[in-house]
Symmetry: C2
Subunit: 228 residues, 2 copies
Amino acid sequence: MTSKKVIEVFYDVVSPYSWLGFEVMCRYRHVWNIELKLRPAFLGGIMQGAGNKPPGLVPNKFMYMMKDLTRSSEYFGVPLQKPSDPFEAMFQKGSLSAMRFVTAVQEREKGGDKQVEQVSRELWRRIWTEDKDITEPASLAEAAMKAGLSDSDIEEALKLYTSKEIKDKLKNATQDALNHGAFGFPMVVCHINGKPEMFFGSDRFELMAHCIGEKWLGPQPNKSAAKL
Amino acid sequence: MTSKKVIEVFYDVVSPYSWLGFEVMCRYRHVWNIELKLRPAFLGGIMQGAGNKPPGLVPNKFMYMMKDLTRSSEYFGVPLQKPSDPFEAMFQKGSLSAMRFVTAVQEREKGGDKQVEQVSRELWRRIWTEDKDITEPASLAEAAMKAGLSDSDIEEALKLYTSKEIKDKLKNATQDALNHGAFGFPMVVCHINGKPEMFFGSDRFELMAHCIGEKWLGPQPNKSAAKL
């Protein structure tokens, strides 16, 4: 029996490509011989730290992204829908409080990452499917409730997420990503023979599979596997 | 018998990702039911026209690109090697004369695109494998010679490539790409039921195959096919 390869996925719920990458990695944790580590981090801090600009600021790129997301949504089986005002949602409102909340959920969760997985997914669903707010405490609570957290869990997470401890934890995760060379999200880091191999975006899975010696079965491996 | 889908690939030999995309499309022209149209164009004009900045100007992005190109080179079976001074090669020397020369070769070629394919490949090989110049007339002639053009063909192309006719032809191809929404290269435009579908980069082939109803067999389809 070979030991599992550790794979970290750095993401932010403001980023639609992060959602694609996140779902693919969550599906493959049951297909490949890997140990997946969810690494919620802050994309705004990455862009600033790397001196990068959001791709959506170039008009042709923005139009392409929206088209590409529509096509990818169907192909990946992830219900992406453009918010009515993507600029407001992505750049003005942003995701700092949402990612602090996810970090608080992760901090409190013991023995697994089911809660952090589900809460992240419900936040993506709010902003990228339902065109809803993800900045207000009530929004965070609603996402957590849909994710199946108990009332007391939600209450504790809401107390915790503005604490210095959580702010620092999110900063550190963001800095870890920058140290791996991040300039955007999603970023996947595969630890292969003690060496980190970084993959940016949600379009390098085929190459990633090749690098870790696994087989790529498309973004919906269970669907594909059933078809084979 | 269904009619072949027309696919245009817009590229510039200064762009290493264009080389990957170009080779993949040249391989798949014999695998998929498509009619491939090679569209040499000028990346500098695309970046200016779209108001985009080269990705290599963000340091983390540049480092990732170099790493990603090394991995992709092996996976795609395309001999990419970083030039000793990538910034000089890509941004200072650039590709305007090289792309005019390719355009002149295309203008003169009758009954196919073998010459334009081979000359493009030899220019990529010069800049992206052998770290050689692609701006001087002697460099262009050498690439064309390796591509199998006759002395008289080379002489004629060298006369033609600085003409207004060729300059305009390259400008028009670049404008066509911008009209399709380009913001970088490679850009592949698939004409599906009379509607153009644009794909940017060399990492959307799996999705492209899905959209045109063909099967993706990896970047080296003949190798994969042999393995199957």
